[in-house]
Symmetry: C2
Subunit: 180 residues, 2 copies
């Protein structure tokens, strides 16, 4: 087994991630076609080929937006395109990841999820243990504090992961707190 890690994402232009109950995150319309152009350029540069399958997969991935598993994306695509196989979806997500257009995230449910990546995107996650919704947040103070802590250890951060598991405002009543 190998441990794959991305270098800093290549400096691509913005993206945007859908809102999360409209509280902290600004929703801006994703420029899918622009991203696809960039990807195409990247592929050319690297000697990879543009294929119909990749185009469909990438489009669907960017449209979907976030936190999707290879399996789920495959199912989604497979409804319209019966001939595209899981392996290709999987490999495309890996390719996007390697080329800096997406990130892989492993949440506590042990499923790898992918999401489109943009350069400034440094958000963290709130994951509801009841309804499973994943909300995002970004907090500058947090980022600074992280840098500061890392600095105290002489540690050079490449990436980080921060997740809160608990109950969202809509599921608060289901929060057990004391069970056995």
């Amino acid at each position: 087994m190998n441990f794959i890690f991305l270098d800093r994402p290549s400096p691509l232009s913005l993206t945007c991630i859908m809102g999360n109950r409209g509280k902290h995150k600004t929703a801006c319309p994703p420029k899918i076609s622009e991203k696809k152009e960039q990807l195409k350029a990247f592929l050319r540069r690297k000697g990879f080929k543009s294929t119909r399958q990749r185009d469909i997969i990438v489009t669907e991935f960017l449209k979907t937006g976030e936190h999707i598993t290879a399996e789920d994306l495959y199912r989604k695509i497979n409804r319209k395109n019966r001939e595209i196989g899981f392996t290709t979806v999987y490999r495309t997500l890996k390719l996007l990841t390697k080329s800096g257009f997406a990130t892989e995230r492993l949440f506590a449910d042990n499923l790898t999820r992918y999401e489109p990546l943009s350069a400034e995107d440094h958000h963290d996650h709130l994951i509801c243990l009841s309804c499973g919704s994943i909300m995002e947040f970004e907090n500058l103070k947090m980022e600074r504090l992280q840098e500061k802590i890392a600095g105290e250890f002489g540690f050079c951060i490449i990436t980080h992961k921060m997740e809160f598991y608990g109950y969202c405002s809509e599921c608060r009543d289901k929060c057990p707190r004391h069970d056995d």
Copy 2:
């Protein structure tokens, strides 16, 4: 290439936890026998049984301290006790987890690691992508900030996960930063 492939450190080096420069964490001698007493009491209360295997596994686990995979703990134990099977080690770690004596953690290498849990333990991790060492830190400011952010979302935190991936002070020179 703008990404890095790291070989996963051998199981042994992975479990080696470096000190944390004495800045954030207080090292206190674990009261193994005391913990074992508590566990025994717990088992009795729940109608579970105390067995030789559990005793050995728990002792070894507590002695080891932290961040160990079921596989690694099994190998460690198996050296001296050829008759204890992997399954039992695995199940014991699960039991410890369910009963609150341990926690499971899933880091980005997709291996479940276990560590003894004590009530006050709320630490986070710095994981070196080069040598695989896992350092711990605790930061009160961070905890407060986390609560604050969660509060803003009306989110009730049950647990959280915070990990920095990067290069420790001893591996800084191996940090690629700019390669292609």
